[in-house]
């Protein structure tokens, strides 16, 4: 059995160490004011990775097309802001969430009837369809040039998005807190346990009478909703939407972040994006060729030698320390 924290055996109460990410986030706000836009990006990707972890890590649904929901959320928020003149960030975010949920349930209900390669292929095809629509419907999306002119009104009419990114950072942090709370609640609930059961052995879950298909559709929809919110956030902080939000590379990158942190553990989705995006900020612009080479090599090495990601390695080291004395 894998060492996943979840299910009835785990204590659902929040441990003190779980406040660490939030302390770090707030400390970063005060200590690194010039990096707040990168910080906001990291927070958004954590939320996005959390949504992916829910389906890949906990429910065991392998997808290459999670960017469909992220991209849809991004475009819905962007189109509302740039074309419909609706500037309120809460309304934009709610619309992005609703769009993600709607697409999630309609596609999930169809594709979750299939398995393995067919499922993988369908997720890829759905994202490709959306990408093609975004590319060709230039009147609405700006096509390959991207959607600019995104205007976001002050949050709750009070907090304006400033050029230093202070508001954006705190705003993303709050949304992430909400998302984390929801995902954590979900994972420690009986529902979360049944998802782990489906991942480990879906045949037995059928045999004990669990409604496997509906559980999967539900978690897929929830995940798509959260991804839609993350997409809405990226539009609001960038004030621009490009085709890359829907690309296969972006879905692949997200998978890389999740693997790097550790799949099937809620804080893997925190560690991965932090490490990946900071490394990208430091290295990718100077050495683009080496960057992709490094990412690929790291992915191969993680799969070969460290399947639990960074957190898995830490776990192993901790266990060793405890055993020694």
């Amino acid at each position: 059995m894998s060492a996943h924290a979840g299910g009835y055996s785990a204590d659902p109460r929040i441990r003190w160490i779980e406040s660490l990410p939030w302390i770090v986030a707030i400390a970063a706000f005060f200590a690194l004011p010039e990096y707040l836009s990168l910080g906001a990006r990291i927070l958004i990707y954590i939320l996005y990775a959390l949504s992916l972890d829910l389906i890949v890590g906990y429910a065991g649904i392998i997808t290459l097309g999670h960017s469909a929901y992220f991209g849809l959320g991004a475009y819905v928020a962007g189109i509302l802001a740039a074309k419909a003149g609706i500037g309120d960030p809460m309304v934009q975010l709610a619309a992005a969430a609703a769009a993600g949920a709607l697409l999630g349930i309609s596609t999930g209900a169809i594709i979750l009837r299939t398995r393995a390669l067919t499922l993988l292929m369908l997720t890829l095809a759905i994202t490709s369809v959306l990408l093609e629509i975004a590319n060709k419907a230039t009147a609405l999306t700006g096509g390959a040039d991207g959607l600019s002119g995104v205007v976001v009104a002050p949050v709750l009419g009070l907090f304006k998005f400033d050029i230093f990114g202070k508001t954006a950072y705190l705003y993303c942090l709050l949304v992430l807190l909400l998302g984390w709370w929801l995902v954590r609640k979900l994972i420690y609930s009986p529902f979360g346990t049944s998802l782990t059961g489906v991942r480990e052995n879906s045949l037995r879950m059928h045999a004990i009478g669990a409604p496997v298909y509906w559980r999967l559709v539900l978690v897929y929809t929830l995940s798509a909703t959260i991804a839609g919110v993350a997409g809405g956030l990226i539009t609001q902080t960038n004030q621009f939407v490009g085709l890359n939000v829907l690309s296969f590379e972006s879905a692949g990158e997200l998978l890389v972040m999740l693997i790097l942190g550790g799949v099937g553990r809620i804080y893997g989705a925190f560690v991965g994006p932090v490490v990946y995006l900071i490394a990208q900020d430091l290295l990718a612009k100077q050495f683009p060729e080496y960057w992709y080479f490094g990412i690929g090599t790291m992915l191969v090495l993680v799969v070969m030698f460290a399947r639990g990601g960074i957190l898995g390695i830490l776990d192993g080291m901790l266990a060793n320390l405890r055993r020694k004395p």
């Binding site: 390669l117 993988l120 369908l122 490709s128 369809v129 093609e132 060709k136 998978l255 090599t297």
Partner: protein, 291 residues
């Protein structure tokens, strides 16, 4: 009417050429997935490598075209044996997710290496004189190179089918696809069979990549950009079969060409929608056996 008929013939012709290329590239993927259950997303890397071998052999070393084509096959097949023994074989029993991630990692590496060695520009293909120009048939002119692609691929496909249906090696492959445990117990060395079949499939991908370098542009993002097409061929055709992907590849080649010709404003949209519809109708593909 005559104009419409002419465009119909042209679409069918160019579509068939594209379909044949897609088949030669993807058939190896179908066999690897059917034989080993390995989700090899990096299959396009072999095709890209074949394309680079061909263009380099011709433009840098002045190799004649047939030799360059053969080199594309041999180089890629040899390289794939090394990869299979060193890396792939360790992951045969791993989960789908790990195989997917591992092969995405290989794609990232290959994209970086290709960009480092060749730059981001598309590689030009220098064709020999006898493959340039037009080929007259039934009062119509066809580009000679496309005719060559169709004829050459047909021969390759014929050889492959003969090999799988009529030889001892083919019988062993079919037996292993049907039931690996049983095949092992009657004394088939499935490990060696895997390696050989993997090499053959990858070599064919390299050959297809080189042969189709003029149709599917050779550039570093090749494995990413065309991944969907290769996977569609395999998923729609059905895993582990030879005929399924053939029909699927021709369908996709012709449909894609038709869409680009008559409905350019929709791009590849109709192809993806059709793929989704077919997979929902028959999740195991058109010719796949229910797992």
């Amino acid at each position: 009417m005559e104009a419409f008929f002419a465009s119909l013939v042209s679409v069918a012709f160019h579509g068939a050429a594209l379909g044949m290329i897609l088949y030669v590239i993807s058939v190896g993927l179908s066999v690897t997935m059917g034989l080993m259950g390995f989700a090899n997303l990096a299959h396009g890397v072999f095709a890209m490598a074949g394309g680079y071998v061909l263009t380099t052999a011709i433009s840098r070393f002045g190799a004649p075209f047939p030799l360059a084509l053969a080199l594309a096959f041999v180089f890629v097949a040899a390289a794939s044996v090394v990869l299979e023994r060193l890396l792939y074989s360790r992951l045969y029993t791993a989960s789908d997710l790990e195989q997917v991630l591992f092969t995405i990692g290989l794609i990232f590496i290959s994209v970086a290496v290709a960009r480092f060695v060749y730059g981001t520009l598309q590689q030009p293909v220098v064709l020999p004189d006898y493959l340039k120009g037009q080929f007259a048939l039934l009062g119509r002119d066809f580009p000679a190179y496309r005719v060559f692609i169709i004829v050459f691929s047909s021969v390759m496909v014929g050889l492959l089918w003969f090999g799988v249906e009529r030889t001892r090696w083919g019988a062993m492959v079919r037996a292993t696809v049907d039931n690996r445990a049983m095949a092992q117990s009657v004394g088939i060395d499935t490990r060696r069979l895997f390696t050989l079949t993997f090499a053959l499939g990858s070599g064919l991908a390299g050959l297809g990549g080189g042969l189709g370098a003029e149709i599917i542009a050779i550039q570093p993002t090749y494995p990413f950009e065309n991944l969907v097409y290769f996977l569609v061929v395999v998923a729609v055709g059905g895993l582990g079969s030879l005929r399924g992907p053939f029909v699927a590849a021709l369908l996709i080649g012709i449909a894609d060409t038709a869409c680009k010709y008559w409905l350019p404003q929709y791009g590849a949209f109709p192809i993806y929608v059709a793929t989704i519809a077919i997979l929902l109708w028959r999740p195991a593909g058109l010719f796949g056996r229910r797992a």
